[in-house]
Homo-oligomer: 555 residues x 2
């Protein structure tokens, strides 16, 4: 037994919020049998990933060891936990396990890629367990902002690991199971080797609030509103959808869900049995003919996403509906840092239409993650030998380690790529594994360091100059260099067209170039690039990207 | 007199926060004499303005009427009020007026452009007035987050306008004049036609807090901290700099200001006399040899700006200083919406270094703008005939109109380009003027709608394909099309190099093209662009920007 080890290796989610992917392994070093907990994605932004469609964890390490991978266990159906399951099924091929609601959504993703239903296995909650290789894995219900979110009990010959997944401590979550202190405490009975624990809200010092606390404020708000009432939240927050819909019905309004994600979630909720008593809803077609004072829309796009229903409504007509003076739009959500601009854009468009917007009001939203006092509760219930903070940026993980230590527990700060040996009394770094990000770009996966996106950013910041020259069989220029620009001012300092200035300067360069330059493509390119940069700098104060194309006539 | 009118025309700042520029006019319609209040700029972002250096208001309307422009009055030295004064001195040429501290900074800007000192005139505060054309303009001291911020009393034959500038109601602002209720109330004596009023914090429902409230918490924090103490705030918040420096000195630390903006502000404060008792500071060179427990740095970069001192420190060494475990970094500031990602990036880098970061803690920062109850106070002190909300996005202006109406005052929602006739009992729209944004891009000014930045964004989102073909005197292709790509994956679906696939497809197109196509550059370009897009879409799922260069041999 002493030859075997128990390891933890985050490939995503540790040192960032997004694209969770946590490997556990047990066995002889280098031959451990492996499981993967969650396989999520994260979303691009214009600053760092323009044009990218989705960001996936780089799972090269795991793909190269797929023969040792027993299974993928998905804790819940948020995109940062489930989003890459189908994207990477080709590279991992391991069976995927999840509870009913999550499995329903995972199968929809698999279907989009043409993978079979049986790629995903539905599991029942703890105390049922799934045995794969040396691992016994049980799904322990917890509360979060999506149905059937679960922590995992991972029993191995090296000891028990409890992986919280995303959680909060909510005794009245509306939809789904309440947090069960006794159940969680019972997990500690055989002793817990390591607690891998959500760190998202470690900086929130007050006790978390229950989902149920938003019902009354929302109900009052809807009841007081005159015109059409429109609200947005995360589509996956089924409990919130229900609260919102119930408030609408109570105020005598017909309720309509708009946006594909919204409809998909409610469908999955019904199919998997987590939704049993959702208020009646009407279709968008029916909604168009309901008087506005009798209508409530629940729409996608709480983060200001450009293609979602909220942005469409802010832009004008959507599904035949136009908002106007006297209507109300509620963000029953929190704006994730980085999405502020998009949300503010929508708020101002609604303001221009005369719509009253309510955003950032704590009465109408609660977080789905455990706050600091709730993390304390989790530490105390599980009494683990060590705490491994996860699901957080570096600052969250670091703070969570401090919190663990304040609770007299060992903590270890492990970021993506740090393989931790959990075998000893104290956790220790066993190895550093190369990790990173893979971009889904159009239909292709590219590496974050391939330079493709870097080049896009450079073109966006600096503009692009294309230079074209033709040389004959004797290496003599045939005509003058030809220049096109994109993303650069047309004229600058000299008030002559920039392309004319550049062509002139390049003609001079070519005219002066010696044979040994003209016979050498690399030298010509280097020279013309330098001229293009210098002349553009002088004319308009920018140093552009330059592409030089040299054509040589040889026939 | 009945032929003359009093007008208000925002060219920037109304419907946005940033680049303030408010025109007032008095005279016969179309012949009004004009003054401009403030001439600011705003900052670009990667989402909408990649590569742009600064964003200025489009002042074409005013430049075309510069013979009627009497003067530019700057209320205070924040960049969104003063930033374009020198940038546009060539186009407006009007004398610039400001109080001493603001004028000091305005002159520094003028000097950078080679304009003379006398372009800026220093004025004394109310009751002194400056007479230009039909306007008598007085500077009324107010409290804000920069020294000598002032409201303007603008007396005209058509009545008195009070333009608040940016303000808060602070009786103990630390540096600069406290808000003087009696003084402001006295302005109402002759009757106020219109109150143009700051709207920034109209959604903040609690009474604003004084600058002085942060002193004790900051002092306690510094006293409790062990290692080096580093803090950042807006360089222009001289009162805060003083509070921070005093806390440092009280804790027995040597204080060092780092970052050019920081040093410039303190210098201007001393030169203009607004700083009289700033604690002693040491130079960065001296700081490098002070033991870390005895050192406090006050640095630029509270908004995560990449080149500022905070980002440099987060990146490693700066001015010989390296932060480490046990040090503390305080953001004595608020992150402006849109800047979150930059600030978070820095926080995580500090976390990696082991530095404790304090951010978003209300105890260590107060806003410089009047909250909703303070706006009520201003409305009641001035009792204007009409309220014109300014300095706000659309949603702020709209809410401020509602607030005015709740206070039984007329309000008008005027966004950039709406010329308001203030002459009658109620304000009314006289005209719509074309306004917009001008980009300083490198050393050139370009229009926001010129397409230059749009092209950059397209290249960033879609990548760029450059196609090159040569045709001989008979319109026959000479060799095959030549393709280069930038910002696109190298291979896709077919596992062949994308450029090879594109060249192949284009060769096929050229081979099949008829004479009437080959003789027509526009037709060739259209065809090759279509092929490039279709083939790239098929290969990698993207529709790139395409530049086609056709060279024809004619000699």
């Amino acid at each position: 037994m002493s030859n075997e080890r128990l390891i933890y290796l985050p490939l995503g989610g540790a040192g960032e919020i997004g694209m969770n992917a946590y490997v556990y392994g047990y066995g002889a070093p280098g031959k451990e049998r492996l499981i993967l907990v969650d396989l999520g994605l994260t979303f691009p932004d214009m600053d760092t990933t323009p044009g990218v469609d989705l960001i996936l964890p780089d799972i090269t390490w795991l793909a190269e060891r797929r023969d040792r991978l027993e299974a993928v266990f998905v804790t819940h159906a948020h995109e940062d936990h489930i989003g890459a399951v189908a994207q990477y099924y080709d590279r991992l091929g391991a069976p995927v396990y999840a509870r009913a609601f999550t499995a329903n959504l995972a199968r929809r993703k698999m279907a989009e890629f043409g993978y079979p239903e049986k790629a995903v296995t539905t599991v029942a909650p703890w105390p049922e367990i799934t045995q794969v290789g040396p691992f016994s894995v049980g799904y322990v219900p917890t509360s979060h902002s999506i149905p059937e979110s679960s922590g995992l009990v991972i029993d191995t010959p090296g000891g028990r690991i409890v992986h919280t997944g995303d959680f909060k401590i909510d005794l009245t979550p509306g939809v789904g199971e309440p947090f069960d202190h006794a159940l969680w405490e019972s997990l500690a009975a055989p002793g817990v080797k390591a607690l891998a624990c959500d760190s998202t809200n470690v900086f929130s010092h007050h006790e978390g609030r229950s989902e149920s606390t938003v019902a009354e404020p929302i109900t009052n708000l809807v009841a007081q509103s005159g015109g059409m009432f429109v609200c947005t939240t995360f589509a996956s927050n089924v409990a919130r959808l229900k609260t919102l819909a119930e408030a609408g019905v109570r105020a005598g309004r017909s309720v309509c869900l708009m946006g594909r994600a919204m409809q998909r979630m409610v469908e999955a909720g019904h199919e998997s049995g987590v939704i049993t008593d959702f208020p009646p809803t009407i279709t968008p077609e029916e909604a168009a003919s309901v008087p506005r004072g009798s209508l409530m829309l629940i729409v996608t796009g709480s983060q200001g996403e450009r293609r979602a229903a909220s942005a469409q409504l802010a832009g004008g007509k959507y599904n035949g509906i136009v908002l106007k003076e006297g209507d109300t739009f509620l963000f029953s959500s929190k704006t994730i840092p980085g999405n502020e601009r998009g949300v503010i854009r929508i708020m101002n468009k609604f303001s221009e239409m005369g719509v009253d917007v309510i955003e950032g009001d704590e009465r109408y939203h609660v977080s789905g993650h455990a706050n600091r006092p709730d993390l304390d509760v989790m530490h105390k219930l599980l009494k683990p030998q060590m705490v491994i903070p996860m699901h957080g940026e570096h600052r969250h993980l670091r703070e969570h380690v401090k919190l663990a230590e304040a609770n007299n527990l060992q903590g270890i700060l492990a970021v993506n790529g740090m393989m931790i040996d959990l075998g000893g009394k104290a956790p220790k770094v066993a190895e550093y594994v190369e990790t990173g990000r893979t971009y889904l770009d159009g239909s292709t996966r590219i590496g974050a360091l391939d330079g493709v996106v870097r080049d896009r950013i450079r073109m966006a910041l600096n503009g692009h100059v294309m230079v074209n020259i033709i040389l004959d069989e004797e290496d003599d220029p045939l005509g003058d260099p030809w220049v096109e620009t994109m993303g650069l001012a047309e004229t600058g300092r000299s008030r002559t067209a920039l392309v004319d200035v550049l062509e002139e300067d390049m003609s001079v360069f070519m005219g002066r170039a010696q044979k040994k330059v003209l016979s050498d493509d690399a030298k010509i390119e280097e020279g013309l690039r330098r001229v293009a940069r210098q002349s553009t700098q002088r004319e308009i104060g920018k140093r552009p990207e330059v592409t030089v194309v040299i054509s040589r006539l040889t026939d």
